[in-house]
Structures are given as structure tokens and as C-alpha cells.
């Protein structure tokens, strides 16, 4: 039986250059917890538009967090108590 050659037949991988800076689309994908390629569908947007969208995504996420931690929607009387409970449960 012929021995398998120890020499690789394919050329060596190219030397790694400096990592490319993340694009605004990469940043948006990271915010949304998605792989960068999954948002390639938005490639017709300009960088400014992607930055605007990312800002809105961030602001909405923060606003939702505040709504939750402020126990929004619960009766005023018990709201402080719930805030304390929610804070405790977060830890």
C-alpha cells in the first residue's frame, strides 16, 4: 500500500495581513447578535444609513430595558416594590 505523502499538495495559506476594520454593517450585526453575513441583504444602505439604524436599534433596546426595570405598567402603589424585586432577580 502506498504511503500517504507527508508533503501537502495545496499551497500554504497566505500570510495573515492586518485585520480589516469592522464596517457599520458589521457593527449593526454585532448589536443584533447576528453573524455579519446575515445582514449582507442590507448592502444597498449607505454607511450613514446603517449608522442611523444602529443608533435606533441601540436606543430602542435601552428604552425597553428601562421600561422593564421601571416595572412600567404595574400599579403605582406596588411599582417601587417590584422595582426592588426585579433588581434583586437580575443579580
Amino acid at each position: 500500500m502506498a504511503a500517504v505523502s507527508a508533503h501537502p499538495t495545496s499551497p500554504p495559506p497566505p500570510l495573515a495581513g492586518p485585520a480589516a476594520a469592522p464596517t457599520p454593517l458589521d457593527a449593526l450585526a454585532a448589536r443584533l447578535g447576528r453573524p455579519p453575513k446575515s445582514l449582507a441583504i442590507l448592502s444597498t444602505l449607505s454607511d450613514d444609513e446603517v449608522v442611523t439604524l444602529t443608533g435606533l436599534v441601540d436606543a430602542a433596546a435601552e428604552s425597553e430595558r428601562q421600561r422593564i426595570l421601571a416595572a412600567e405598567g404595574s400599579p403605582r402603589l406596588v411599582r417601587p416594590l417590584f422595582r426592588l424585586i426585579l433588581q434583586a432577580l437580575r443579580r
Partner: protein, 393 residues
């Protein structure tokens, strides 16, 4: 997906992000699919954050009997309950929901992602779903009604469709999550009621936009059925639809809808007075040329009355030679020479010469075709434009 589906997606994303839809108008060229993906990713992001907190709350609540939990739910409020509901076992959550008032459930529905609570939504007793839907309708929240249509049981859907008022149902159809579900909802409607809902298009541009959305997203057979119902309504309904289609720049979507109509209805539509307006014809021509829809438009011309054909011909003179060449190509593929010759016969001689030049180009490959068209052109009264070239050949 259509421009209107894109606009519906923009409004849903805008509500999720807490901004006015105008802020997201730059997304319009992306199409509905990519915008929906962003919305779904954003929903997941919102539900992922503080996930541990809600998981713990749900674990605690899981130990409580449903009446106690319903009491706590009222204290927690609909915003938090919507989040906890997705973490509870569906059976337990349903028992709790059964003890909560309709306004509370409606408010929770506004904050709930139906995809994450699919099992819960499907198991909800029909009377509960109906009460919540009534409450949402009372608040004018058609978007939330539309978001839930795909997820409720068939029984609940049938009853919700039966009790909702026409305006809410039409508005909700605009926001349906799955457009394939649209046909199913429409089939649930008796003919008389569907006709009444479609007739709302004559009342306001907003209703007309929703009807156009249903027409563009519906299947071929559904379009035909709805078209026939629309044709039975007073002319102002069809006129309002066409006016809205023009003002919203929707011809590229509406021309294929018109192609699906029954011959009688199509004949009525293509002879509406609005089609004599130069700006309207120019927009239709631009859309047909940009989207390669001449194959759809040419058979419509055949059904038009003399005055509208002349208006079409006049409008076509403003299009460049390349557009005429594309019309010729469509006539060749679909054998639509008669309406095209009819229109060209009404054009000034310079445009007729352009047409002849294009046909001569075809004649180099297919002399029989050239001869046939030249003979028909003679029947339309401009065959002499061919003669010198025929002699030269």
C-alpha cells in the same frame, strides 16, 4: 414582495423602535424581506436582554396556582407579563390568561412577540381571543391584530373575522405577517361582506391603499374574485384605487393585478377616465418599461376605447426609441402586434418611422415577419412608411 408590503414592514419596525415611520423611509428600497429580518433580530435582541430575570420570574410563577398568578400578573402589569408569558409553560399561561380582563390581554398582546409564544396563542380559548381582538379594534390597533392572525387557532380566527368591523379587518390585512395567510382569511369572508370591505376603498386613500395591498399580495384567483366584486361597486371605488395607485407610485405592482382580472372587469378598469390623464399614462408607461411589463400592457390597450388609445399613443411619443423597441420585443414574444400597430398608427410620422426601423431590424432575420407587419401596418393606414425600404431591399 410588493412596495406596500415593504411599507407595512417599515411601520412595524418603526413601532418596535419607537420612532415615526418617516425616520425609516431610507429602508424602502431594501424590500420587505430584509426589513423583516432586522425586525425579527431586534425582537430577539429585546427578549434576550434581561432574559435571566424573566426566566427566574417564570420559575417562581410556575409554582403558583393560576388564580394567585393572575393576581400577581395584574400587579406586574401587561408589559412585564408579556415577557414572562413567553417563558411559562403554555398550559399554565393559558389558565392565567383566562383569569385576566380583555383590556389587560390586549395591552399584553401589543408587547408580546407571537412567534415566541406561539403555543400559548394557539391554545387560548376562542372567547378570550375574540374579547382581546375586540379590545384591540376598539383601540384602533390594527397592526397588533394583523400580527396575531397567523398564530391563533382556525376556530378563533373564524370568530375574530366574524366580529371585527370592516375597517379593522381591512387595516389588519395590511399588516398580516404571512401574506400566504391572506387568501385563507379572505376565503372566510362571505361574498357580500368582502364586497363591502373592498368598497371602503372609495371612502379614503388609506382604505384604498389597504385594498391595493390585498390585491397585490393575493393569489391570481383571489385577485380575479376581488376584481369582479370591485367592478360591481360604483365607479368611484375603482377610480379611488387607480388614483391611489398613481399617487403612491404603485403601477409596477398594479399592472400585474390588472392582468389577473376577468376580461369584463379589465375592460371596465382600462376605460376609466383617469387613464386619459397624461401624467397617469406617463407613469404607467415608465413602470411598464422599467419592469418589462409591456407584455401585460399591450393586451389591455386592445380593450381600450378610441379616446384612451389615442391618449396612450400620445403618451408613448414621449418615450425614447429604446422603449418602443422593448414594446416591439414584447409584441413579438406575446404576438401582441395588433394593439401595438393600433397605437403606432396614432403616433406622429417620426415615431412611426422609428417603429418601422425597429421592424426592419427584425426583418433582416425574419423577412416573413416584416412582410406580415408591413401588410398589417397598411391596414392601419401607415404601411407607406415601409414601402421605400421594401423596394430598396
Amino acid at each position: 414582495m410588493s412596495v406596500l408590503a415593504t411599507r407595512a414592514e417599515i411601520r412595524k419596525l418603526a413601532r418596535l423602535l419607537g420612532v415615526k415611520p418617516d425616520r425609516l423611509s431610507f429602508l424602502e428600497r431594501e424590500g420587505a424581506g430584509p426589513i423583516r429580518r432586522v425586525r425579527e433580530a431586534q425582537v430577539e435582541l429585546l427578549f434576550r436582554q434581561e432574559h435571566r430575570l424573566f426566566e427566574r420570574l417564570a420559575r417562581w410563577f410556575g409554582w403558583l396556582p393560576s388564580w394567585t398568578l393572575a393576581f400577581f400578573a395584574r400587579l406586574l402589569g401587561p408589559v412585564l407579563v408579556a415577557r414572562v408569558a413567553g417563558e411559562l409553560k403554555a398550559r399554565h399561561a393559558v389558565e392565567v390568561c383566562a383569569r385576566l380582563p380583555a383590556p389587560f390581554l390586549a395591552e399584553a398582546a401589543m408587547n408580546l412577540d407571537p412567534r415566541r409564544a406561539r403555543d400559548l396563542v394557539r391554545r387560548l380559548p376562542t372567547p378570550l381571543v375574540v374579547d382581546a381582538a375586540k379590545e384591540l379594534a376598539r383601540r384602533g390597533d390594527r397592526m397588533t391584530v394583523g400580527r396575531f392572525v397567523d398564530f391563533v387557532s382556525d376556530d378563533a380566527l373564524g370568530q375574530v373575522v366574524a366580529i371585527l368591523d370592516d375597517e379593522t379587518l381591512l387595516g389588519a390585512a395590511f399588516y398580516l405577517e404571512s401574506r400566504t395567510h391572506l387568501d385563507h382569511v379572505i376565503r372566510l369572508l362571505p361574498e357580500e361582506r368582502l364586497g363591502r370591505i373592498l368598497a371602503l376603498a372609495g371612502d379614503s386613500p388609506m382604505h384604498a391603499t389597504s385594498v391595493l395591498s390585498i390585491l397585490t399580495e393575493g393569489s391570481h384567483s383571489m385577485r380575479r374574485r376581488m376584481g369582479d366584486l370591485l367592478a360591481a361597486e360604483p365607479e368611484k371605488v375603482l377610480l379611488s384605487l387607480m388614483r391611489t395607485a398613481h399617487e403612491e407610485g404603485l403601477w409596477a405592482e398594479i399592472l400585474p393585478v390588472m392582468h389577473s382580472l376577468s376580461p369584463q372587469t379589465m375592460c371596465e378598469v382600462v376605460n376609466l377616465s383617469i387613464l386619459e390623464e397624461p401624467a397617469v399614462l406617463q407613469s404607467i408607461g415608465d413602470a411598464a418599461d422599467a419592469q418589462d411589463l409591456w407584455g401585460i400592457v399591450l393586451p389591455m390597450i386592445e380593450m381600450m376605447e378610441e379616446s384612451i388609445r389615442s391618449a396612450v399613443a400620445f403618451s408613448m411619443t414621449r418615450h425614447p426609441r429604446e422603449a418602443l423597441a422593448r414594446m416591439v420585443q414584447s409584441a413579438l414574444i406575446g404576438e401582441h402586434w395588433e394593439p401595438l400597430l393600433d397605437v403606432v398608427a396614432r403616433m406622429p410620422p417620426v415615431k412611426q418611422d422609428e417603429f418601422v426601423g425597429i421592424v426592419e431590424g427584425l426583418g433582416a432575420v425574419d423577412p416573413d415577419l416584416r412582410g406580415r407587419i408591413a401588410a398589417r401596418a397598411a391596414a392601419y393606414g401607415f404601411g407607406d412608411r415601409f414601402v421605400p425600404r421594401a423596394v430598396a431591399a
